[in-house]
Symmetry: C2
């Protein structure tokens, strides 16, 4: 059964802790479930599309993200990579080792601070950038989005993500 959506939800929006009163839950809950599910699905759809394209270069999608960061900045510490890509060392360490073994990056301890490891592209890694040049365009076409839609979607996802981060942070603080 389908409830009418148009019930009011107009009350004051405290970003803090509203008890979340709406009795019209059915519809909302359905939406929540669908959102989580479709997000999952979209993520995997992207992955599926990138996979064969990147395979030509010998990269996986997360490896590609790392190479993008390294190409752009010339060199990045593991910490910086982890922050910008939202990955922890348990994920990055083996991933970077695979990239090193593949010959795309060099890893070395910083002389300034022996705790940090600096990642930089090798010659081969830099050369790879050329071969990867047309990937974004190919992917872009597949999405079927124009610039407007692209940036709207990006904005919406950014907002959700930062809301979720804030919520997680909140929970963190509570213990």
């Amino acid at each position: 059964m389908l409830r009418t959506v148009s019930d009011r939800t107009d009350e004051a929006r405290e970003p803090g802790d509203e008890p979340m009163p709406p009795a019209d839950s059915e519809q909302l809950l359905r939406l929540e479930r669908q959102l989580c599910f479709v997000l999952h699905a979209t993520s995997r759809a992207f992955d599926t599309l990138y996979r064969p394209v990147l395979a030509e270069l010998g990269l996986t999608y997360p490896q590609y993200l790392v190479m993008l960061a390294v190409w752009e900045h010339g060199e990045r510490s593991v910490k910086e990579l982890g922050q910008s890509l939202r990955l922890d060392s348990g994920t990055l360490s083996p991933l970077l080792k695979r990239l090193e073994k593949a010959g795309f990056v060099r890893r070395e301890r910083s002389p300034a601070d022996e705790r940090s490891v600096v990642v930089q592209p090798t010659e081969e890694g830099i050369a790879l950038r050329e071969r990867a040049g047309d990937i974004p365009r190919r992917i872009l076409r597949a999405t079927g989005l124009d610039e407007q839609q692209l940036s709207e979607l990006h904005g919406a996802l950014s907002n959700v993500t930062s809301a979720l981060d804030k919520a997680a942070e909140e929970i963190d603080r509570r213990e």
Copy 2:
């Protein structure tokens, strides 16, 4: 304060108000990269938020998705689960075994067709549904989205996903 991905890029271009940007590939490529990245990030942000909540029930997020499907339909074949959740048997088989070992589902070969395996909730699995009842509401609040935004985002993601699926299908057909 915690910044997300969408931080300003190096230049001061405001997205959305391009006058007439047909040949301006740089901007487009940047958007592509950001979209893929933020999608990845959003997916993980959701996961991070769900993780501790579901841990109370002894479920992971994909397991939760399976239970949602099973709760709703009473019983589902592995094939059906795979189709609706976009998971293949290599992922589902061990996942279902873990759910079985946890006591939430039963798995048995269909008498009608010995090839297929039917999954259904146990008593304990059905009981779990009650305890999971308030999860959507808690998550929903954390997203900070109202119903309108929620369904817009859902629509946008659905469109992208089906475009990507179509593209992948296209590629498939070409070999």
